[in-house]
Symmetry: C2
Subunit: 396 residues, 2 copies
Amino acid sequence: MLRKIRLFTPGPTPLLPSAQLAIAAADIHHRTPEFRALYQRVLGQLKEFIGTQNDVILLAASGTGAMEAAVSNLTSPGDKVLVLTAGKFGERWTSLAKAFGCNTEVVSAAYGKTFSMEEVRRKVNPDTRVVYMQATETSTGVRHDVKAVADTLRGSDTLLVVDAITGLGTTTFDVDNWGIDVIIGGSQKAVMIPPGLAYCAVSERAWQRMEKTQSPRYYFDLRKERKSAAKGESAYTPAVALIAGLGAALDYIAANANGNLVEGRKKLIANAEICAAMTREAAKALGIELFASSAPAAAVSALIPPGDLDSGVIVKAIKEQFGAVISNGQGEMKGKLFRIAHLGYFDYLDTIALIGALELVMARVYPSRQVDFGSALRKAQIAFAGYSQTGLRATG
Amino acid sequence: MLRKIRLFTPGPTPLLPSAQLAIAAADIHHRTPEFRALYQRVLGQLKEFIGTQNDVILLAASGTGAMEAAVSNLTSPGDKVLVLTAGKFGERWTSLAKAFGCNTEVVSAAYGKTFSMEEVRRKVNPDTRVVYMQATETSTGVRHDVKAVADTLRGSDTLLVVDAITGLGTTTFDVDNWGIDVIIGGSQKAVMIPPGLAYCAVSERAWQRMEKTQSPRYYFDLRKERKSAAKGESAYTPAVALIAGLGAALDYIAANANGNLVEGRKKLIANAEICAAMTREAAKALGIELFASSAPAAAVSALIPPGDLDSGVIVKAIKEQFGAVISNGQGEMKGKLFRIAHLGYFDYLDTIALIGALELVMARVYPSRQVDFGSALRKAQIAFAGYSQTGLRATG
């Protein structure tokens, strides 16, 4: 049979056609009024999408570039920082902090879990210069409690940096009221465009901190980008086409809520939640367990195959037979779990279709379980219909 | 929820991405070596796709343009012709033949049926200059028996013209051995590109007939196109971008069979058959009947809603809630049936997803029937798995 290649990965995610067209058409120079108008418009849209009054910075980099910026700009060698980690991306904060010579303390939780807030409170003290965390840990599908951490830090001089690369557009934040000093996003996630752009919103006290810190930085010097952005430009050559695509994607997200980007973001979050609920109900019917048992993120479902079935077998079969690309576990979770994304440009038809393919694949690669055709799909239908009845259908 | 707009209509059909890119990139002049190379390549590919040694002609027109050409080039006013009709497109042959002053006889069958071969044999006689028919009647989803008609005409001077606009790529033909004198296709069907191109293969005796016929023609004078094509050009300005897209689509169809376009066409037909089987098994579970009870075409399923439910309600609901575009019945069948396409660029995920949407819509717009969620999907899964086991999965 024909097989269309379709991404169900938690980044890159499926591309929005109007953004693809904007990217293809973006044949403009970056030191022109045309670009400055585009850049200022997109920076303004990003503020609304993130939900902040803070200045937003765009970087031609993947999300890790903005993570590095949040370390190199906010620390000096020897600074005490605290990393909250429960997966591969949490570990990246540790690696970055160490690379810049920070005195790095860690609160960790087992993969699939979130960390103990009690332990966080115990480890934070007035010497902690920065706390680094994820909003959602993409490798395990877990949502961390950003607000609880922010509450813990309230009134202190400790900065809070949140990698929300898969969190933005899938999780609710009140960035300024909670006191998130740096929140980081990436282009290949809920905003439906290809990789290559990172963005972050930076609080006033984080800008002040940067004036005193000593870690070396050049390309990722956020102060230079802020100054250039005030003139409608970027410090270095920007990823022009991706910025045009991002503008189109944010237009689309707003258009789904009568032009209101804040409401559009809420609908996007609800959309991921419905796709996640359908997938998880269906998975249960196939004997597949959700890895994030306590605090699952809407962005992605990390799923444990039944019995001793290698998750790589499922990933391979679903690609080979149906052209659908899902993710294996990362690092030590490879073979143990597989991941299906819900963030960004997915709709009901995408979601139910993948569940159908998963049901067929499970029947083939794990026949000992006796898959009853339609049983997983039925659970997904019921989950979707439940959301429709509670009014979320009106978000379409 | 987000809704992606997706076509499930029997033309236009979903666009192939590589063809879209070729169309977007086709910024070439038509009186250049670049265009001549493209044109000759595509005409050669079309011969393989149609499965003929006859010359193939491309027209910047929709399929009806090629239908007109098959009347205006092959008849003189007053010529006796026979039209075989069982639907809206059969009736178009009658209208065209009358518009060009033919003495038009008709063998007709009720909508949803095919005509009686006995009646065809009775009505054909040595005076019949041309027989016009469809391979598949898109308005009713019925497949006509082209080979039986061809067999009836064998040895006579009567030409056979087949509108295979939805038939090519969904039905098996042996054009030259059966003796089909003109077979007609359109771009917005199984070949996965937008409307605007018609093509036809013309037998040697049809070319000879054209030298004697008197009906007026100019733009659609096939002899002029044949002469130009021999030089690698078109007589009038061709639809350059669509021709580039058609080349890319035929490349794709061949690539699915290791570069063999004839085998690729067979796989495309098998693909439509699997999509059709899934859809029809699912429809039954919802109390929906197939309109073409005896000779259903793989190209499209024409489906009758249960009870007194207006088919337009289903068409509207599935568009509004899910963004999926299906077709209502045409003319007097409006409100009585709806149509879901299988021809061209559809895969398993497309098909199962639409069935999921149809199940949800039926539960909502016809609650008296008590739709059991998953029941239609289950039938589709079983149908697909059956095909997979019999080896058709290997066509992917």
